[in-house]
């Protein structure tokens, strides 16, 4: 009998879901006990369309090739002391934030997709989830290896995983992913594959990484672009998952819509850190946050993606309009937080140079000079006894119960004030930075009343290396617990700056 001719899709089915079978010695529910409680209804897993057709051997081949290229570039950079050719050591503060904040999330995504690969009852999406789990481990490791070289010469890189578990601003990314991995497998994959990968990672991995290239950091650009090329597969998976769930049963539509609403806002708030990195921390800038937002969110997501989802009865995320309104404020709000609390952070900040302020004013003609330049001007007047002598916010901030960012988001309708919301639940008050975060809380209050809020934890005495000897010893004991060494304070009093000057002092400056 002659072999029949199969299409690529049919062949791929045999390579993947064809391996699956219906168990008879145990019930399927015992193998996949987490598949039903979220209320998602699947009529036929066979309707799943594979977003890409990658077999394991092709995966090994292409991924090994990608990594071969990455490590060749990284080794070249190390051998040539490439860090000396960065635009400026200030640039690295954005990479510190990345390594402390994002890299551990890649790791959590790796374990999260292992959960998907183990617990989704559909063999097709389980397979795609597995490849993503592998990819995310890759991202963790190439980022750690790129960071390792900088760690040898600069502060802020030495304790990323420990800091991620402890330091106040890192509870923002950590709580985001903790939220996703504690959800069921369907919510997880909608949250991460769809809302995060499809809607938001572009902002981080494309314009920001282009900024890395522009500032002379080829390893970061390479891991960024190379990681994002994996994300292209992940985006395809995310879109496929959402469409599949929507097509399976009409009862899934409101569930998915609520997840999109929740995870849009969760992800958007997380991405605000990138806004500050792009507009303030890159000495040479490619694109402003606002421009990136318009391109990647307004054009590609709203005008592109959500037009495609209309036919399923899905509308754009609930609080999208607020994020659009915030686009001219956001990066400034966030940098102003980071600037104020640098005394307790493992990166440096600085007052933008006059040229940088002009760039900001040009990119944000309706907000920067009006609302933010005056803050920096006032900061120049204020003296504090801390290193650098400049203004620091010498207190602890009120944090949003959901996103955990200090409640510092400007109200575009009342730009002299921030948005403040609160609600009472079971006799306790909870505060929020936005209607989006408040809405998320009200939907699942039992989740967010558990939040490990760094400010409250400090006040409970849970964040001291040793009990403070007096009021002046409180912050130092917290910093020791964080393992913040000489990583904090203004850039211009940092060891990074001192070393950078030293390393470049007898180098000829060539102006081209």
């Amino acid at each position: 009998m002659a072999k029949k001719k199969l299409t690529l899709a049919q062949k791929y089915h045999i390579y993947t879901r064809g391996l699956d079978w219906e168990p008879t010695y145990v019930s399927k529910k015992d193998i996949y006990p987490y598949a039903e409680y979220e209320g998602i209804k699947i009529k036929d897993w066979n309707k799943w369309e594979d977003p890409f057709r990658m077999t394991v051997d092709a995966y090994w081949k292409f991924q090994a090739e990608k990594d071969r290229r990455f490590y060749a570039i990284l080794d070249g950079f190390i051998q040539n002391q490439g860090h000396l050719t960065l635009s400026d050591a200030r640039y690295l503060n954005s990479i510190k934030l990345f390594i402390q904040g994002v890299t551990p999330l890649e790791y959590m995504a790796h374990r999260g997709f292992a959960f998907v690969a183990r617990h989704l009852p559909g063999a097709g999406p389980r397979t795609a989830g597995f490849f993503q789990s592998m990819d995310e481990l890759r991202h963790t490791q190439i980022e750690v290896h790129a960071g390792s070289n900088f760690n040898r010469y600069y502060d802020g890189f030495h304790s990323m995983t420990h800091m991620h578990d402890r330091v106040w601003y890192l509870s923002v990314p950590k709580s985001y992913f903790d939220d996703a991995v504690t959800a069921g497998p369907f919510e997880y994959i909608t949250a991460i594959s769809f809302s995060f990968e499809y809607a938001l990672t572009n902002l981080l991995f494309v314009p920001f990484m282009s900024g890395a290239a522009y500032n002379g950091d080829t390893p970061t650009m390479t891991f960024g672009f190379s990681a994002q090329s994996d994300e292209s597969r992940h985006m395809t998976l995310g879109l496929q998952v959402v469409k599949f769930l929507l097509e399976q049963h009409e009862d899934n539509v409101p569930i998915i819509q609520a997840w999109i609403d929740k995870w849009w806002w969760r992800g958007y708030r997380l991405t605000t850190l990138v806004a500050a990195m792009m507009d303030y921390m890159l000495p040479k800038r490619v694109m402003s946050w606002k421009e990136s937002f318009e391109l990647y969110i307004e054009d590609q997501i709203l005008e592109g993606l959500f037009r495609d989802l209309e036919k399923y009865g899905i509308r754009p995320p609930l609080h999208m309009e607020q994020s659009i309104k915030e686009k001219e404020f956001l990066s400034h709000d966030v940098y102003w937080i980071l600037f104020g609390f640098t005394y307790a952070a493992a990166f440096h900040t600085w007052i933008p140079t006059e040229a940088e302020m002009e760039w900001l004013a040009e990119k944000y003609p309706r907000t920067f000079n009006q609302y933010y330049r005056p803050l920096f001007e006032k900061a120049k007047e204020v003296k504090t006894p801390l290193p650098g002598g400049r203004f620091y916010y010498l207190g602890l901030p009120q944090l949003c119960q959901v996103c955990q960012i200090p409640m510092a988001f400007c109200d575009p309708d009342d730009p002299k004030n921030v948005v403040q919301r609160h609600v009472e639940y079971k006799g306790e008050v909870y505060h929020f930075c936005s209607d989006g975060c408040k809405w998320i809380f009200e939907r699942e209050p039992e989740k967010y009343i558990q939040s490990w809020l760094p400010v409250h934890e400090i006040y409970k005495g849970n964040c001291f290396a040793e009990p403070p000897k007096g009021p002046d010893d409180v912050v130092p004991q917290v910093l020791r617990w964080y393992n913040i060494q000489t990583d904090n304070f203004d850039y211009f009093v940092s060891e990074d700056y001192k070393n950078w000057k030293e390393w470049h002092k007898d180098m000829a400056t060539v102006v081209v």
Partner: protein, 109 residues
């Protein structure tokens, strides 16, 4: 206000991590200077329930005094959450009606 329930494989209920009793005789109180974004967000303080109002104001001035405009203000207008209120200097925080995670807001009168 209708609150939702977390879908879970068991009764998903927990004690709030920062509930009032955890702080014993103290309260968390937030302070916010209205119309002034020099302080990026409201501040958070752990203070005794029976702290006198004037001591509280003095306590938070360690932060707000950093703003050169602070010392020029002769009189402040106060709000508890969004309600205007008139705290007397010698009353304690609880006597004034403050509770755990209250926010007091102020601006020059």
């Amino acid at each position: 206000m209708a609150f939702g329930e977390v879908k879970a494989l068991y009764k998903y209920e927990f004690e709030p991590r920062d509930r009032a009793e955890v702080f014993g005789d103290d309260l968390i109180v937030y302070a916010y200077w209205i119309d002034n974004r020099f302080f990026c967000s409201a501040s958070a303080w752990r203070v005794p329930k029976n702290m006198k109002w004037k001591d509280f104001v003095n306590h938070i001035s360690s932060l707000y005094g950093l703003d050169p405009d602070y010392k020029n203000v002769k009189k402040w207008e106060w709000y508890h959450f969004d309600e205007k209120f008139n705290p007397q200097d010698d009353k304690t925080l609880v006597e004034l009606g403050l509770r755990h995670k209250s926010i007091v807001k102020f601006k020059p009168a």
